[in-house]
Symmetry: C2
Subunit: 131 residues, 2 copies
């Protein structure tokens, strides 16, 4: 499955705004790990690697951030800035997040637990592997 955006179901009532994602229906995996990042300085980047086994879903819950996605053949650029938009990334996709706004809060859902050896950290090696 390719990189794609996911529209998150949301309900706006007088008692607040609710956003819901379910595995299988909205996310094509069962979530084994979540992590969130905040207070990233505007001149810093996050990511800069590719997982060999894990799919990811990214949601910028607050603020905004840009991301460059690379499958070894072509690059795509996305701006994440809405609590009702998620970005799905299959395994073996290089990603780099940049230009975080000061208030950005980026939530990540992962299909696998963390393994240090699971990551390509060298871009040339990653491209070689993919071709």
């Amino acid at each position: 499955m390719d990189t794609r955006t996911i529209e998150i179901k949301n309900v706006h009532e007088t008692d607040g705004d609710l956003y819901v994602l379910e595995t299988d229906n909205d996310i094509p995996f069962s979530i084994q790990r979540i992590f969130y990042i905040q207070n990233v300085p505007a001149n810093k980047k996050r990511g800069g690697h590719a997982s060999k086994t894990s799919d990811f879903v990214y949601i910028c819950l607050r603020g905004k951030v840009k991301v460059c996605i690379d499958n070894g053949i072509r690059q795509q650029f996305f701006l994440l800035e809405k609590a009702n938009h998620a970005l799905y990334l299959p395994k073996e996709t290089w990603m780099e997040f940049y230009e975080f706004s000061e208030d950005a809060l980026l939530l990540t859902l992962a299909s696998e637990k963390y393994e240090e050896n699971d990551y390509f950290n060298n871009y040339e090696e990653f491209v070689r592997e993919k071709q």
Copy 2:
């Protein structure tokens, strides 16, 4: 397993603050559903029910909110206000969130998908069932 707080692993570096939770290690279930709530007016409440089958983990990623937990025998009160604290709730626990701060962003991780019939919505019926 009883209601309890979970300390979320966090890493603070010059490129931002990272918080991580994994199933089994930090959360005693595989996540089937996530939802998040924001813009809840200070005089409104959320929850006011109990799931028959789902465990939950709550994290207030931003701002603060209070919650009253009730297992049919005794009540507990918690203030959620830190991105590195989670509250674990087993199934069959009544919960009500209140006094949301204006900027509150409450993230919920659930062990089950949503089923309308899965919820006790009547407190007296819930207490009767638990005793």
